[in-house]
Each structure stands twice: as C-alpha cells, then as structure tokens.
Amino acid sequence: MKGKNWIILVAMALLLTFVPSVYAAIPTGAIKIGVVMPTSGTLAYDGGLALNGIKMAVDEINKAGGIKGNKLELLIEDSAGVPATAVAAIEKLIGMSKVSAVIGDFGSSCTLAMMDVAQRAQVPLITPISLAPKITEQGNIWTFRGCDNSEMIAKAFTKWAVKTKKLDKWAFIAVNTDYGRGSVEAFKKKVTELGGEVVFTEYFQQGETDYYPIITKLKATKANGLCMFGETVDLSRVVNQFYEMGLNEKMTLMDPTSGTFNPKFIELVKDKANGIVGASRFVASIKTPAAKKFVSDYRKRYGVDPEKYAQAGYDVARMVAMAITKADSTEPAKIREALSKISYKGPQGKAHFDEKNQLIIDEYIIAIKDGAFQIVAGPISAE
C-alpha cells in the first residue's frame, strides 16, 4: 500500500512540473487566432459544424500561402456552452496565447459573457452564430456579429408567413436562453404588427428530452402555426413528439432561425421534416458560383452539405483573415479597425458591418422537401 501511494504522489508532482514546458513548445511566427466553441455538452454537435467551417477556411488560406507568407494558427478552446467556461477560455486565449482575434461563441449567453473580456483586453471578438439582438446593442466596439440577428430574420420572415402563408395564430416553443427569448420577443412584435395573434408561448431548457407536457397543451389551442427556436437536437425532439401527438394535421411548423435545416436533423426526424418553413442566410442549394464551389469543397472534405453554421464559421474566419491582410498587422486594435470597414464577398453573398458591428446580409425563405432545402423566396435584402 505505502509504495503505491508514493508512486501516485510522485506522478502527480511530475505531471505538474512537466506540463508547463509543453505550452512553451508552440511554434512562433504564425498568426494566432483563438476560437471558443462548444465541443462538449448539448451544443457540441452544432458547435462542431461551425468549427468545420472555420478549419476549412484556415486550411484553404494556409494552402494558398497564408497571409503574406505567415500561416494562420487556430487555438481552439471548449466553452461547453457554459458562460463561465467561455470566459475562462477567452481569458486563456488572450492572456496566455496572445491571440490576435477571437472567433466565438455559439450560444448568445456565452458571447455576452465574453464581450466584457474582449473589451477590457482590447481584442476583437467575432461571433459567427449568436443571434440575440442585444449583443450588438451595447456599444461594445470590440464585438462583431458575423451573421444576421433575430430582428433581421423576423422582419423578413414574418411578412412572408403572415401575408403569403396566411398564418395568423402563432404558437412559440423556444429554448430558454438569450437567443430563444430574444427571438420570441422580436417575432411577437412583428407578428402583432402585421395583424397576427400569439396564442401560446413556452420555453424549455437546453437539452430537454420530453416535450409531451407542452405538446399536449398546445393541442388544445387554436394555433395554426408553431414557431420554434432552438438547436438541431432539441428541435428534432419537438418535431418528433409534435407528430406523435398528431398535431401536424393542425398547424404549420416554422423554424425561422433554421436550426433544423441541416442533414443531421433530417436523419433524426426523416420525412417529418417535410413542410417545415424557415428563413436562412444560407442553404446549400444557393446557385451562385461562389456558393457552388463552397458546397462542393465542403462536401469533399466532410462528406455532407454545409449549412449555415458551417457557412458562418467559414465566412467569419475568412473575414478575420481579410482584416489581418488589410491591416497588415497582427495587432488586435488594427485588426478591429480593418474589420469594421471590411467589404466581404463569400458563398452567401456580399456582406459588410454596420455602425453597430452587425453584419448586413441577405435572407432567403426556405422549406424542407424530401430531405432537400428549397428556396421559396429571396434573396431578401436586409436594407
């Protein structure tokens, strides 16, 4: 017994002394970009998609010779979708690894928590995914949103749904986060403005499995449209249980932030995905040359079609690279300056940041049919 104990102690001591030397071995000369994404926890799947896009963009840039001969190096930290972990991760990236810019996070709550750190350290933070309107409403010049936000989506989508689709009694089921609550608020406002009525609102916790209690309750309402806000996995459960309760005969499924428009969702719910309508800044069926090339490259690399998370990861990584090239510096302040003036063209289309660091891009109205994502209307300009 005694001997074993000593071995453990010595091993632990060795571990402690040996570990810091590993950090010092990171090669210098590369341009370091930090990434904070959930690679564990309930958001791990969706976070991985965004990460796929980021990695692909960086590999492409490095293959083409990097930025003026310097390779880009990604330093990826897991936030697990937890705000406190996200804060620790960005602190580490900025404080220890001295990254020039940080891409992240997925969940709005995590991004909101990291914004303060980015501002204090004066390093640009670009979120490719987070939708909560308030991220770009706080006057934090160090934080950028490299995608649309729920207000922009609401504006484009509700008009189409209420006027063209004639959906006037809305039910909402949304995840209880900044993203879910922010989106429901933005949509409620637009729906009532257009003369629609909101008859049902329920929030669920991320990672919830059993939606029977609210689906059963929903059955007793007069809603003719169910509008969902959430990630792939949670929403696939909602949709499955929605069908099991026979609600599909009564109402149209809407997923305006298109959390469901990806192959994984189709695999999870199969033909129950048919008829879901939504809005998205990107789908693999966009037929422009830039989009086609992106889709085929992505397919070659990952074996599946990219969706909007991968697209946003890809675009944001390229925007950062473009800003570094423009700034001709790895200094965070100069990169920020260049990023705010960027005029980018990617697979999705043209994009630039407005005075609040909100990306201005086009929207498409889309629908799922037999596992494919079809464009129903659009592109709808944000302006």
Binding site: K2, S40, M96
Partner: protein, 331 residues
C-alpha cells in the same frame, strides 16, 4: 511550544503567499490562484460540515450560488457596494442553509447526501427558471467590481488580478482562522464527538441536532460569502456555475486533501483548481483522466493526501485505516 511553531509556520506561509503576484505576472495564472482562494473557502466551509461534523452534503454549491445571486442582484439592481453585499450574501445563504439543515439533518448517510443533492438541484432550477428575478440561464452580467475604499490612509482599489488575489488571500486566511478556532473549541469537540458516534454523543448530553444545524449554517454562510466574492470577481454569474456537479467537485477537493484536517481541504482546493487547467492539453480526454484518477485515488488513498501523509508520519496509518474499516457507516 508546538502551538508557537505552528503559528510561525502559518505566518511564514502567509508572507510567502504575498509574493505570488510578483512571481506570476500573467493574468491567466493569477486567475487560477484567485479561483484557488475561492475554492479554499468553499472547501473549508464544506469540511466543517462533512469533515468535522460527519454530515455529507452534496448541495454545497447551492449556498455558493445563493450568495453569488444575492450579492449580484443587490449590487446590480440597487447599487449596493460589494463591502455590504458580501455580508448580506453570507447571511442569506446562512438562513437558507439553516432552514434546509433543520429539514434534512435528521437524515443520515446516503439519504442525507442524496437529499442535499436534491436541494442543490431545486435551487439550481429556481436560478434557471425564475427568469424575472435571476434572468434564467442567461445569467447576470455587469456586476460591479468592489468599490474603492480608504484604509489606514491608503486608497484601496480592486481592479487587477493581483488586487483580487490579495483580497482573496485575506478572505481565505480569515476563513481558515475562523474554522481553526471553531474546531479547536468546545463546539468543535462536540462536532467531532457527533461524527465519531452520534448516539454516544447524545447520551453524554450533546444536543446533536443543534450542533449539526450550527455547522451546516456556518458552512452555508461562508460558502455564500465565497459566492459573493466570485460574483464580484468574474462579474458575470449564471446557473451553470452552481450545479450539483460543482458540489461534488468541492466534495472531491476535501476528500482529496483529507477532510478531517485543516490543511487537507486547502491542499485539495488549490491542487484541484490548478490540475484541470493543466489537463486541458489532454483535450477531450481531460475529464476521462479526471474520472479515472478519482477512482484510482479513492481506492488507494481513502484518507486523502494530507490525511495519509499525516497518519503516515504519526505512525497511525494502520490504526486509522482500521477505524475506517470497522466503521463503514461512520461518514
């Protein structure tokens, strides 16, 4: 004599700790040290309940969270200063702790442990779902730093990591002192008597329930103060920080160091705050290593690192293992 030596060692260690910010200037390291201080307070406060009174609690993070939320809400909504809210946070957590203690401390062993875990979950659910008050899973941001204050002619501000480190050091030292005095008092003797044999303790006239509730309340209150410190340090709180997993984490810290000693929980708190950060190089296998290490450790070192060393040096190792074996339900 022995007591003086101890005091001298303690003073020297404290002086040594004052130089840490000079040695590690990097924010990232300082962050780990500040977190170590917070965990030291949490571990000591839990050791008071689990180690010295023998009442296993798996809901400690709830009091940590209550302290953090009370403090954050008071300062964000009503502009209270940290120097006021930390006390209110401690009292609030202590009151809740008292109420839960009265309700559950008549249970023992597994039942107590699991029931305290349930309370931890309930408190977490309230943090998550009472959205109008706590802002739900989105958490509370914009918590102010401690306000500057005048002390002995100096104008003290708490701004950098090093400032927080010194503040935390004072806090942790104070809590260590409180717990030290408590366990070396009549109350401490009564608690240890209850831990060793509750029936016997009762038979010699110790009001076991009152003492247990007392330890639970003080432990919960101290955890609440730690929560307040955390809130005004990270400046953002959300329910995920205060889960049952976190309670178990603190429990592991005191088991790791050895929970029936004063130094054990401190050792466990510091080591287990620093270790997971280093394990980050193991990437996705980090938590696997942590879990396996925990299993191996518990099988081989049931008394904790400090506890094992202590009894090894005192030549009592065999003896104390014996007691542990003979009284399987003791803890």
């Amino acid at each position: 004599m022995k007591k003086q030596v101890r005091l001298l060692v303690a003073a020297l260690v404290l002086i040594g700790l004052l130089f840490i910010p000079k040695l590690f200037s990097m924010d990232y390291y300082m962050h780990m040290f500040v977190m170590s201080e917070i965990y030291t307070v949490l571990a000591l406060s839990l050791a008071l309940i689990v180690g010295f009174s023998g009442q296993v609690s798996m809901g400690h993070a709830a009091f940590y969270g209550i302290g953090a939320y009370v403090s954050a809400l008071l300062s964000v909504n009503f502009g209270f200063s940290f120097w006021v809210t930390i006390w209110i946070a401690g009292i609030a957590a202590g009151v809740v702790s008292f109420m839960i203690g009265v309700l559950v401390l008549r249970l023992r062993g597994h039942f107590l442990a699991i029931t305290t875990a349930f309370f931890g979950i309930l408190v977490g659910l309230v943090f998550n779902n009472w959205t109008t008050l706590t802002n739900g899973p989105m958490g509370i941001s914009g918590i102010p730093r401690p306000t500057p204050f005048h002390f002995a002619g100096f104008n003290m501000v708490v701004q950098t990591r090093a400032h927080y480190y010194y503040l935390g050091l004072a806090f942790a030292a104070l809590v260590t002192f409180i717990v030290y005095r408590l366990i070396n008092s009549r109350i401490g003797n009564a608690l240890i008597a209850i831990r060793e044999n509750e029936e016997l303790a009762r038979s010699i006239g110790i009001d076991a329930m009152a003492y247990k509730v007392f330890a639970f309340t003080v432990g919960g209150g101290l955890a609440g103060m730690a929560g307040s410190f955390y809130a005004h340090y990270i400046l953002f709180i959300s329910p995920v920080t205060f889960t049952v997993g976190e309670s178990i984490n603190i429990l592991v810290m005191i088991i790791f160091g050895g929970m029936t000693t004063l130094f054990g929980p401190i050792l466990g708190a510091v080591f287990l705050t620093v270790l997971p950060e280093f394990l980050r190089i193991a990437g996705s296998l980090r938590l696997v290593i942590y879990g396996v290490a925990l299993v191996v450790f518990i099988i081989w070192m049931p008394l904790g690192v400090w506890g094992s060393l202590k009894s090894f040096w005192m030549g009592q190792r065999q003896a104390s293992l014996q007691t542990a074996r003979e009284n399987p339900e003791r803890l």
